[in-house]
Symmetry: C2
DNA sequence: ACCTGAACACCGTTCAAGT
DNA sequence: ACCTGAACACCGTTCAAGT
């Protein structure tokens, strides 16, 4: 053992500027196992191998760490939705909306703790974390764009598209929330199917009659 | 001052058996102002004027207190829905479903903290509080009954009514959740109107065509 | 039976100090 | 700049004791 070797456990490279990343990553990892209400800042720091006090160099408080985690979650979700949509023809209006819904419920089911941070008490309520609104706005924008395209293509009814977007958002979020809290029990391999079945009830209402 | 007078502040009658009630009531009261994540058992006990340790006589832990609070919330919600429905003709299918949805979103908006306890992490997940399932089942039963009646009356499409019930449940819960977290901003006096407008998008899909 | 004082093992956050 | 030891004011929960 070299004399120069520190007695502490091996350190990652956050000494050179990415402790922030390490903390966010560790938090997301741990949220796969426990809920945000149980997860402590001290435990995250322990996992990273750092004194809990070090976190305050990068986040003014625990909420700020969670805000970074939420932001990253929205970004991932948006990226997934974009990827899934890119595989479908622009004219396939209903299937595109289903794909959007499926990506959302899948995220909630696969990353329950992470989803809870994203959908729980609104972290930017006080205006402290305006960055969050960017990917959130993008996500809602994707939904709106699909609806507008559907109307333009003559596949969807064009009356009160704003309400359609809100209604669909609420429904998808509702399914995700009920599945994530296991109030609505659905096996992992049936999730897409169930999402489609419920979403189709809504799409039936949004579709243009006798098109 | 009488010598017999205890120096402590005046006590309520929980000495005679309703400290349990006092704790539940105080928790609900306090949830009007703060979220359940912030509310401490010790603070509730303080409000009631009792040592926090006394709560453990009536609840095995904090979760048990919250379970009682959630149960009471569901009961109140069910009572409200029943009352609202009793004012409408059985044949007024769509309006009855709207009334059900409005009662739900109103509860969430008027009792945000209480609603969060009810809709947050599922308290009976571990099976510790099966009592909760009773009013929850009643609430879902009311929804199912309305849908079935609508089908019987020829007003609603009868295919996959189970999915219709789940879809409507998810949508109403989604609206309530988004309004409560203020992700969907809606003024108090517009809440019923907005609820109707979004719910109607779904009802349009559930309605029987060319009835 | 019902209630509490003292204590335990945690927590988020701050201060003052180390390199 | 980046990190930490010691401390503060909290928390939920338990034990042993009081009436």
């Amino acid at each position: 053992v070299s004399v120069r070797r520190a007695p502490a456990p091996p350190r990652a490279s956050y000494h050179h500027g990415d402790l922030r990343r390490a903390l966010v990553d560790a938090t997301i990892e741990m949220l796969a196992e426990v809920g945000p209400d149980v997860l402590s800042l001290r435990e995250v720091a322990r996992r990273v191998g750092v004194d809990h006090r070090a976190a305050y160099r990068h986040f003014t408080d625990k909420e700020a760490l969670f805000a970074a985690v939420a932001e990253e979650g929205y970004r991932n979700l948006v990226a997934t939705v974009r990827r899934d949509l890119s595989r479908l023809a622009p004219s396939d209006v209903l299937e595109r909306l289903r794909a959007l819904a499926r990506a959302y419920t899948r995220f909630a089911a696969e990353h329950p703790g992470h989803y809870r941070v994203m959908s729980g008490p609104r972290l930017n309520e006080s205006g402290r974390f305006p960055e969050i609104e960017i990917p959130v706005g993008e996500a809602f924008g994707l939904l709106q764009a699909e609806l507008q395209a559907g109307v333009a293509l003559g596949a969807l009814d064009g009356t009160d598209v704003e309400a359609s977007a809100l209604a669909l958002w609420a429904q998808v979020h509702g399914i995700a929330s009920l599945v994530q809290t296991r109030r609505m029990r659905v096996a992992k391999n049936k999730l897409s199917e169930v999402t489609d079945r419920l979403i189709d009830k809504m799409l039936h209402g949004l579709a243009r009659r006798h098109a």
